[in-house]
Each structure stands twice: as structure tokens, then as C-alpha cells.
């Protein structure tokens, strides 16, 4: 049985590890360190941890100031609250291409019971549109740890790392190495392709099993980097299978699905289906209930794939 852990847990653990290797790393949080798991870094490096209180705009710009002086700041809060600092991220961080690592947790509808006000389903769209910004949404502990290590080793501009609250099963393995702009094919079907990120990768794997039972071979790709996106992997899938389903715990407007569609529209038009929040807000419920109600769970993904094949 594969390990089950939230991506935020891998984030905290890896941050504490890379803090050892890179003394320039500093961490900022906005009163949520025990939930974002930056507390793991705080315990090890209290002098390099700065709690900014419930003040996300101040946190982002303080991180920017630290970056101008050669520090490698990681700033964390919940995705919905960090989103309020969008203009600070645009004007102060991205315009100057400052190395600020924005690692926001509790993204997506799987926040669950807290309801719509806490469910950031728009964050990838508003981050992806920013020049210089790199957007990463890992699906499990291995992708998360790999991304955090990569960010620490490549302090060359802004990153947005999107993490979840709920526990998920690991789909990758110990030998996985993260590379920015590279996705991974988890299974190699030739009928249809499912490209997913975050917690919908696990749902997509389950969908592939359902499809296999019906004799449909699905290729499942985990696409942790939404920007820059793995164009080669997308184009190969478009050429080698009959269509592409994208799956994300995010609005279908502006996120992974849009990014894939932009590649295909420019280079290799192909039939597509978009699994995600259909331009709507969520509500309170368990993550599984919400995935079912809002059309994000494995059966919905399988159904979209079947529809695509006609």
C-alpha cells in the first residue's frame, strides 16, 4: 500500500531539509505555520523564520525585500489568502523577476468543510498569467519534495507552488527527479490521454482502471508544472491517442486545461474534455463528496474519456 500524506507535509519536511543545505533560505508565514507545515522549518531554524501575522500583502513584499538582498525566501499561507496579494506579486515580485517562492497550501475544493470562502479554485489562473512566474501543482510527496529542492537550487525568479490540505496516495516513487517543465506518463495507454495535476492525478489513475475494465487503454500524465508546461509530452499524446481529458482541482478557466488547450490550438488541434470546477463556487462537504458533486471524481473523468472516444 502506497504512503498517504498531504503535499503540505512533504513541503514542510523538505523545506527543513533544504534549509540545512542553503543558509540563505528564510521562511515567512502568515499565522498558519502549523497548517502550511512551515513549522518544520521554524523548529529547526527559528532565527530564519518570520511570522508576519495575518498580513499576506506585507508578507509577500517583505519576502521581495529579502530577495533583493540575496536571501531565498519561501512564503506560505493558504492559497485563498495569498491570492489577495496578487498585485504585490505582480508589481513587486514578478515585474522585478525576484526570487520569491510562494508556497500556498489548502488550494482547491478538497479543503472541504470550510466551504467556498476557503476553496481557492482560481489561484493557478491568476498566477499563470504573470510574466516570469513559474506555476507548479504537485500530486504527491515525491513531486512536492522534488519541486521544493528544485526551487531551492534554482533561485532565479518567482515560483508559485500549489499544495493541498487533504492526504493523498503517492503515485510516484523514491527515484523520481523533478525537472521544471516536465510531466510524467504514469501509464502508457494508446486510446485516450488524461493530463492531470494535484490531487486529480490519483482520481485519473482510478479512472484509467475503470476504463481498462471497459477495454479502453488510457495514458495518464501527471503535469506538475503548469508553467512552463511540457509541450512535447502534450503533443506526443495528441499525436498518439484520440483525444485529451484534462483534470484539475481548479476552475476550467485559466488553469491546466487552458494551458494544454493553448498548446494544442497552436500546434496540434485535438479533441478535448475539461474536468474541473465549471465556473462555479464550491460549498461545505467532505473532499470525496465535493469531488463527486462537482464532477471531479474518477467516474466523471472516465465518462469524459469515453465521451471523447465517441
Amino acid at each position: 500500500m502506497a504512503e498517504k500524506a498531504a503535499t503540505r507535509q512533504a513541503y514542510g519536511k523538505t523545506l527543513a531539509e533544504v534549509g540545512e543545505l542553503h543558509p540563505e533560505i528564510v521562511v515567512l508565514d502568515a499565522d498558519l505555520s502549523k497548517s502550511t507545515m512551515t513549522v518544520d522549518f521554524l523548529k529547526k531554524f527559528p532565527d530564519r523564520f518570520f511570522n508576519m501575522g495575518i498580513a499576506e500583502s506585507d508578507m509577500v513584499d517583505t519576502a521581495a525585500g529579502l530577495a533583493t538582498c540575496g536571501k531565498i525566501p519561501f512564503a506560505s499561507t493558504f492559497a485563498i489568502f495569498g491570492s489577495r496579494a496578487w498585485e504585490q506579486i505582480r508589481n513587486t515580485v514578478c515585474r522585478a523577476n525576484l526570487n520569491v517562492n510562494l508556497c500556498f497550501t489548502h488550494a482547491g475544493i478538497s479543503v472541504g468543510e470550510d466551504g467556498a470562502s476557503a476553496q481557492a479554485n482560481e489561484d493557478m489562473a491568476i498566477m499563470r498569467v504573470l510574466p516570469n512566474m513559474r506555476v507548479i501543482c504537485p500530486c504527491d510527496s515525491f513531486e512536492t519534495a522534488g519541486a521544493v529542492r528544485y526551487m531551492a537550487e534554482h533561485p532565479d525568479g518567482p515560483y508559485y507552488l500549489r499544495l493541498g490540505r487533504a492526504k493523498v496516495v503517492d503515485v510516484l516513487t523514491e527515484d523520481y527527479r523533478f525537472e521544471l517543465g516536465k510531466g510524467t506518463a504514469l501509464c502508457d495507454g494508446g486510446d485516450v490521454t488524461i493530463i492531470a495535476c494535484g490531487s486529480l492525478v490519483q482520481q485519473s489513475m482510478a479512472a484509467a482502471e475503470e476504463l481498462a475494465a471497459e477495454g479502453i487503454q488510457a495514458r495518464v500524465i501527471t503535469m506538475p508544472a503548469i508553467k512552463p508546461i511540457d509541450e512535447d509530452l502534450i503533443l506526443a499524446a495528441a499525436a498518439e491517442t484520440k483525444g485529451i481529458v484534462t483534470a484539475e482541482e481548479h476552475q476550467v478557466i485559466g488553469g491546466l486545461g487552458s494551458a494544454v488547450a493553448e498548446v494544442l490550438a497552436r500546434k496540434h488541434p485535438a479533441p478535448m474534455k475539461f474536468i474541473g470546477m465549471q465556473d462555479t463556487f464550491g460549498e461545505s462537504g467532505t473532499p470525496d463528496e465535493l469531488f463527486d458533486k462537482y464532477g471531479l471524481s474518477a467516474p466523471h473523468i472516465a465518462e469524459a474519456a469515453t465521451d471523447l472516444l465517441g
Binding site: S57, M59, D61, T62, A64, T68, C69, R95
Partner: protein, 279 residues
């Protein structure tokens, strides 16, 4: 840089800076002359007069004092000060706001020499300055961080988030200069959204507050000295200034916040600054 305290030289540099400001905004056909003219003495004090520990020939010197122009729109004064201090030639100033110029409409650190951080959207500079000041403390460095804010700008809530952070982290290496000219785009600050009492608010946030006439060199230098001597908390210098100072028709007139003079107004402005301009 060595410190200049020669009164005639300081007055000459302030006048030179004001002429540059009018010239730049006129040549660009747009820009923000009012606040830049009002802060001429402070800009001169910081840069050519050597309040800042800087090396214009080595703009990215690690140990330099930092400066954040939070009210980025008054960059004509900032650019003129950088040029007079020797970061780049004063001949570059007329390229302000023109395509391809390093002197962008609002400061851009990737393009302009001597700019420690980009700015332009109000309310953010004090947070950035705090980050720089924390970095100095972490590295055991003695550099100081200066940040220039406006009295209209403090209507932005983030300024007060940052004001809390500065005192919480005891950033006595932060020195804010608040340009208190009483005007903002739509009119008087007191009528648009009152910010009084300014000194009381900053004191309540735990800051060392110094109030001065921001167009008086002696008071400016004295305030910087007192700020440097203050330990355990940040200092804010509330500098009362005359927006548009030096140009008769721009003084205390909010319509000159962000507008370029026409040809006739340009001639008048330069004449007020002792130059017979030919267009």
C-alpha cells in the same frame, strides 16, 4: 560618498534637481512634477549630499544603504538625484518615459542603474524595506534602509501592516521619510480621506517620530542623525513639504500631481527656477 554640508552647494543642487524635474516632465509630455519638486531637498540630502552610504561607481555594493521609493511616481526627482550623485550621466534624464529608456515611468530595478527595488504601486515600499532590513540583521551588516512614503499613500492598509512588522522585529535600521504635503490627486488629503494625526498614529505603532520642515536642509540632516542614533525601534521622519515647491503655479496645487506643463507653463516654470528657457 563624502557628506556635503555646504549650504550654497546644497541649495544649488536642489535647484539643479528641480530644473531637471521640470525639464524631464516637459520633455516626456507626462509625469509627476509636484511631489518630486517638494522632495528636492530630501533627495539631495540622501544622494549627492551623502546621507546614504553608497558607491555610485559600484551600484550593487553589498554593504550599501538601501533606498525604496515607495511613492514611485515621484521618480523624476529620484532619477535626477541619482544622476547628480554620479550613477549615470545627467544627459540621460531627458529620455525619461521614452521607449527603451532605463528611466521608466515608475522605477524599474532591472533597467535603471542605482535603483534598489522596483516600485510604482502605492503602499508596498515599507514592507520591501522591512525585508531588506531583516536581511541586514541576519547577515550582521550595518547598512540602513531608507523608504520614502506619501501622506496620501498611508491610506493604503498595507502601510500599517508593515508599520507593525517594523516595530515587531525592532528594525532600527529602517528610516521612513513621509512626504507630508497635504495633497493627493483628488484634492486635500484631509478632505479625501483624513490621515491625521499622523505623528500620533506612528507613535501608537511604536515608531520613533520626528517632525520637520522637509524643505530645510538643517532639519533634514538633524533628523537623519537622530534616526541613526535611535536603537530598538524604527524611525519615521514626517517631512512637511510644499508640493510643487519652486514653481509658482505648481505650489500647493493638487492638479500638478501628475501633469506635464505646456510650452508656456514650461517657460514660466524654468523662469521661476532661474533659467531663461527657449523652446
Amino acid at each position: 560618498m563624502t557628506k556635503t554640508r555646504d549650504k550654497q552647494k546644497l541649495a544649488d543642487q536642489a535647484l539643479r534637481l528641480r530644473r531637471h524635474v521640470v525639464e524631464m516632465v516637459y520633455q516626456a509630455g507626462s509625469g509627476h512634477p509636484g511631489g518630486a519638486l517638494g522632495m528636492a531637498e530630501v533627495f539631495v540630502s540622501l544622494y549627492p549630499a551623502g546621507e546614504l552610504k553608497i558607491r555610485p561607481e559600484e551600484p550593487k555594493w553589498d554593504d550599501r544603504d538601501r533606498f525604496v521609493l515607495s511613492k514611485g511616481h515621484i521618480c523624476p526627482g529620484y532619477y535626477a538625484a541619482l544622476a547628480i550623485a554620479g550613477y549615470f550621466s545627467e544627459d540621460l534624464l531627458p529620455t525619461f518615459r521614452k521607449l527603451g529608456s532605463p528611466l521608466q515611468g515608475h522605477p524599474c530595478m532591472l533597467k535603471g542603474t542605482g535603483i534598489d527595488v522596483s516600485s510604482g504601486s502605492l503602499g508596498q515600499g515599507l514592507s520591501v524595506a522591512n525585508g531588506m532590513a531583516i536581511a541586514a540583521k541576519l547577515d550582521g551588516k550595518s547598512y540602513r534602509v531608507y523608504v520614502m512614503l506619501g501622506d496620501g499613500e498611508v491610506q493604503e492598509g498595507q502601510v500599517w501592516e508593515a508599520a507593525m512588522s517594523s516595530t515587531h522585529y525592532k528594525l532600527d535600521n529602517v528610516c521612513a521619510i513621509l512626504d507630508s504635503n497635504g495633497l493627493q490627486i483628488d484634492g486635500k488629503v484631509s478632505e479625501i480621506m483624513g490621515v491625521a494625526p499622523l505623528a500620533g498614529k506612528w507613535e501608537a505603532f511604536g515608531w520613533n517620530v520626528i517632525e520637520i520642515d522637509g524643505n530645510d536642509f538643517d532639519q533634514i540632516f538633524d533628523a537623519f542623525d537622530r534616526a541613526r542614533a535611535t536603537k530598538g525601534k524604527p524611525t519615521i521622519i514626517i517631512a512637511r513639504t510644499i508640493k510643487g515647491k519652486g514653481v509658482s503655479f505648481m505650489e500647493n496645487a493638487c492638479e500638478w500631481h501628475g501633469k506635464a506643463p505646456n510650452e508656456e507653463q514650461y517657460r514660466q516654470a524654468m523662469s521661476d527656477l532661474g533659467v531663461h528657457a527657449t523652446v
